[in-house]
Amino acid sequence: MNIKIILLSAVSLIASSNLLAAEPTNQELFEMLKKQQAQIEELQNKLAITEEKVVENDEKIESSVLVIEENLVENKGSKTSIGGYGELHYNNIEDSESIDFHRFVLFFGHEFSDSIRFYSELELEHAISGDGQVGEVELEQAFVEMDLTDDSRLKAGVFLLPIGVINETHEPPTFYGVERNPVEKNIIPATWWEAGANFNTQFSDGLSADFAIHSGLNVPTDGSNSFLIRNGRQKVAKASADSLAYTTRLKYTAVPGLELAASYQFQTDVTQGELDADASLFTAHAIYNVGNFSVRALYAEWNINGDEADVIGRDKQKGYYLEPSFKINENFGLFARYNLWDNNAGDSIDSEKKQTNIGLNYWPHEDVVFKVDIENTSGIIDNDGFNLGVGYQF
């Protein structure tokens, strides 16, 4: 037993002496700690550098993205803009067939600053112009517009008068029927542009007003076209500015889908000093879109002072139309339009003209339209037929 204890004690003594020999000394431990501390500091430095680089890279990426996005926006929203619209018509009325690229229009606009811009519309009518040709090149708009406050702006130059429905908005995809309605064409007369200045202001949400001073009409004073309003458009082509005109419009659009507007115009002399015949135009219209249904109605009336217009019954010229429509879906819409107008309404002779159109618009894209309508006229005119058309805007 004693021998066993002695042997075990000897073995444990040897083992413990070996262990003591493997443990580091305090000095060695201190050196190890110093080394590890240096390594930690080195890693911390590397981490700090890496973090700096990450921040730097983030900033570089952010700057690059901003530059790229600015370029993308710059390319997309250039200060100079180009747009346009056009329409090709095929008319088959009373066996008289014709095909006509009625309007080819280009818009050019430029933003001088956030508050000052230029806008223009150059139109080629009936595909060709020149001596002996049926078409015309017309500058229908060319004005500088300036925002005066958040709610008011002034335009000066050649502009479309704030009257009626289609005078200012007449891109083919925005209206039904191949041809524009004859009431606004022959009574207002759309498309009607003059030179001058127009002040527009918004009184509150959905209520706005326009006041314009501009060049006036110069109607013929003899022949079959005398005192016909449409023939009085001078088109700002070396136009007489002897007698100016004033137009004002009040427009209400506060209810979604509803537009109510009325315009009044005073012409100081529609003969530009030849006969002293002042005149006034009153128009009012309503448009209501609800669901897939829509209805448009317009009334327009001219009163011309002076014996010369009175004698031939053209002292009063008036008309109206009513146009209900139904949009079957995003691509198809049906319409019917009844028009009545009279350019000789000042006498007792029945001189009314009536026209009914029923048709379909097909929009394969919101900016492209194909149209077809059946046309029937009565009153002092009597023609029936149909029209086909294609139009676009961009």
């Binding site: 997309k76 929203g77 606009g109 956030d114 300036m146 925002d147 005066l148 002040f199 001073i213 209810v255």
Partner: protein, 187 residues
């Protein structure tokens, strides 16, 4: 009379004109505040970034008819609430100039939409609250078209079209961030 009116015009021009820019209806922060106020119970939002990768741009192009001119879109999304609400600030050109919209989406439907800045000459009527209200709770169908009719505005066709496209786009982006991992939290 004519001289008097012309003089009045130019006097008005001189006095009031100089520094007017696009009409600002609401700031992004004001829009965000109004979204938060409309949520009950209140939701906590965090700001994130959606990178418009090729496949997303392809879907965006189908809605806008052109690519969105940004590489990424920052948005806010509510944290922890189910379903989450996302808030977007997006631009689209009406006829010539960009219109800035604020849109919030919940359950893949428009919760609120508002014109923040309007720069076009015509079509300001889309900023009228009664018009924007038509978009509330509107969603999209399988073809990604709006599932309810919007009563249009005569003479503002292109501005109305821009607003409809932005509503569709915001719904697409909302769905994208909920279904993908292409987002990264802002620092």
């Amino acid at each position: 009379m004519t001289i008097f009116l012309f003089t009045s015009f130019f006097l008005y021009l001189t006095l009031l004109s100089p520094f007017v820019s696009a009409k600002s209806y609401m700031s992004q922060q004001e829009f965000f505040n109004s979204v938060q106020q409309s949520l009950s119970p209140a939701e906590k939002f965090q700001t994130k970034t959606l990178w418009l990768k090729k496949e997303i741009q392809s879907q965006v192009s189908k809605i806008l008819d052109h690519k969105y001119p940004k590489l990424r879109v920052r948005y806010k999304i509510s944290d922890g609430s189910k379903p989450p609400t996302s808030v977007w600030y997006l631009d689209e050109i009406g006829k010539e100039r960009p219109i800035t919209f604020g849109v919030s989406i919940k359950n893949s439907r428009v919760q609120m939409i508002q014109v923040l800045e309007f720069r076009e000459s015509r079509g300001y009527e889309i900023s009228i609250p009664a018009f924007a209200k038509q978009f509330e709770d509107i969603g999209v169908d399988d073809e990604h078209n709006l599932d309810q009719n919007i009563d249009g505005i005569t003479g503002a066709t292109m501005s109305v079209s821009a607003m409809k496209k932005i509503a569709r786009l915001a719904i697409l982006l909302h769905k994208t961030v909920l279904s993908s991992s292409t987002t990264s939290e802002n620092k």
